[in-house]
């Protein structure tokens, strides 16, 4: 069976009550799911002996600026065994800006989630060290959000007095 069909079938069998939204663009398979299930699905994708997505390449978010679910968190995971890349996505709303951390699945997600928090302000539940990573700790804004201007916000960083 084609691997893409296998992944779809396995996910539907394992999580029958969850809704999965599969899509393909430029030969890349991506699956969108409810953020409640993210940890269980990631754990399954890594542990399943046919899939083995052992390498978490990248975790990031997209700010859509004017949508009901403002952010989409995207996980790019790679299966070395099958030489296949899968994109797992989950929508996060601005008013309920948190998602479960996957640090218990892949250790590398620790800093990637911190970067995501630093840039978009999405909190990752049960993360061992939820601090900012690039910006100073007392910085109040999230620079990669679309409402943050390119030139920065005057007065947001302490500067020498005139």
């Amino acid at each position: 069976m084609e691997l893409k069909e296998l992944i779809q079938q396995k996910l539907k069998e394992k999580f029958p009550e969850t809704e999965f939204e599969f899509s393909e663009f430029r030969d890349e398979l991506s699956v969108k799911l409810n953020k409640k299930n993210i940890l269980a699905v990631c754990m399954f994708l890594k542990e399943d002996s046919d899939l083995e997505f052992v390498l978490c390449e990248d975790i990031t978010a997209v700010d859509w600026a004017s949508r009901k679910n403002r952010f989409t968190v995207a996980y790019h995971i790679f299966s070395i065994k099958n030489k296949f890349r899968l994109v797992v996505k989950a929508d996060v709303d601005e008013n309920d800006c948190n998602i479960d951390s996957v640090t218990s699945v892949w250790k590398t997600s620790n800093w990637q989630e911190r970067e995501c928090y630093d840039m978009y302000g999405i909190k990752f539940n049960h993360h061992p060290d939820m601090r900012r990573i690039y910006m100073p700790e007392e910085f109040e804004y999230y620079p990669l959000r679309k409402d943050f201007p390119l030139m920065g916000i005057p007065g947001s960083l302490p500067l020498p007095k005139k």
């Binding site: 430029r26 994109v87 892949w106 800093w111 700790e137 390119l150």
Partner: protein, 416 residues
């Protein structure tokens, strides 16, 4: 000078300052010390800051601190066209700028669905492998310098200098090249640069052996690195290791084989793998990779046929400058691309190449406009620095320097 008042100090810091700060030491022999290493430290390869908790000279804890070189390239990418971002990729991993150029244009071409002529693909492969050689030469040299062997650094930089000279002829710049274009490369490889490259790859084996002869039989070098900074196969995968660092831990994973791009599936080369996972194994992987890259460049030179170096797609590929000045159509297309961008279709792609440090990926989200809606840079150095606390635990302070050198981070890429 005016004295600082309470209003000048951040409330959080003020609160800490007002707290009781007396330190009592019960037993003078059992106290731990915090050592701040960097960001201005010659062995941290840039502006990496480490906070080390020491017991005597043994490291018992470490917190890396990054962000001193954060320039916000992801934010800037959202506000400029796909072409305009090419020069900025040079500044990510500034030791191998050409590989970054190739990675970026490959991601954009995947998004826009552009097919590149064969000759341009071979030129790209050639320059990407030369960038890998240059990067590994710097990595080996500075790594040897970190543990005290200064001569090797001078010798490997002498070899790298030859690559710089080739780039100078090829694209007119030694360091920040910006050589690739969407749909091809900026200009064709001239015969003189091809003969220089051929001479270089024929000689690199002997020249590298010369550098190695200073290290491989050097007892101080071997004993300082053997068993230092060991990471197991499982941990390396879990920490998201890629590139030479992962292959030193016994995982045969190389994106040139696992997800072939350009023409790598037509090329014969080996993937060097070592099982030990320590600093010495990472050094051996890099020296082996230099030889393999030289082999790839040789095959590229053989397989390269004369032909076009840019795709014939006037709506998305910039015309040559000579044509812009002499032809009306080309002038219009040039104006449109420069002012409004190439407008790829709505969608999102992730494309990664095997960069010299590891997997270098770009995640681009397009809304069909001239500039990306989002651009995420997946930089290998950022991921590798994350594992430093795991690597340095239990080692001496002097080993920390060797371990940083062995994972070869570049802060321009880690901080974006």
């Amino acid at each position: 000078m005016d004295r600082l008042t309470k209003q000048d100090v951040h409330p959080k810091i003020l609160q800490k300052l007002l707290e009781d700060t007396d330190i009592t030491i019960d037993d003078a022999l059992e106290n731990e010390m915090i050592l701040n290493m960097g960001p201005q430290h010659p062995a941290t390869h840039g502006v990496l800051r480490l906070l080390l908790r020491l017991d005597g000279e043994t490291v018992i804890g470490c917190v890396p601190d990054v962000g001193y070189l954060h320039r916000g390239y992801e934010k800037m990418a959202e506000n400029m066209s796909y072409y305009e971002f090419i020069p900025h990729t040079d500044r990510l991993d500034y030791i191998s700028p050409l590989a970054n150029n190739v990675a970026w244009v490959l991601a954009v071409e995947k998004l826009a669905g552009i097919e590149v002529p064969l000759r341009a693909q071979y030129i790209r492969m050639m320059v990407a492998e030369l960038a890998r050689i240059a990067s590994h030469l710097v990595a080996i040299g500075s790594f040897a310098m970190d543990v005290g062997a200064l001569t090797v650094f001078l010798w490997t930089l002498r070899e790298r200098e030859k690559i710089m000279d080739m780039w100078d002829i090829l694209c007119g710049a030694r360091f920040t090249n910006s050589f690739t274009r969407i749909g091809g490369v900026a200009n064709d490889a001239q015969p003189e640069v091809l003969s220089l490259i051929k001479k270089f790859v024929d000689e690199i084996d002997d020249n590298l052996s010369e550098c190695e002869s200073l290290l491989n039989t050097n007892r101080i070098f071997i004993e300082r690195l053997d068993g230092v900074g060991r990471i197991s196969k499982e941990d390396a995968l879990s920490y998201g290791y890629t590139g030479p660092n992962l292959r030193a831990s016994g995982v045969e994973f190389d994106l040139r084989r696992a997800a072939p791009y350009l023409q790598y599936d037509k090329i014969d080369f080996k993937i060097p793998v070592y099982q030990e996972g320590d600093a010495l194994a990472r050094y051996f992987v890099r020296t082996d990779e230099v030889r393999e890259s030289a082999k790839i460049v040789k095959q590229c030179l053989q397989l390269m046929q004369p032909g076009e170096i840019k795709a014939n797609l006037p709506k998305s590929v910039l015309p040559q400058k000579v044509e812009v000045y002499s032809k009306m159509e080309e002038l219009i297309h040039d104006f449109m691309i420069v002012n409004f961008g190439i407008n790829p279709p709505v969608g999102e792609v992730y494309h990664a190449i095997e960069g010299s440090k590891g997997e270098l990926g770009f995640y681009i989200v397009s809304k069909g406009e001239g500039h990306p809606w989002k651009c995420k840079i997946r930089s290998p150095s950022f991921i590798h620095i994350q594992s430093l606390p795991h690597l340095v635990k239990g080692h001496m302070v002097s080993d920390v320097v060797a371990i940083i050198g062995s994972i070869d981070p570049i802060m321009g890429e880690a901080d974006k």
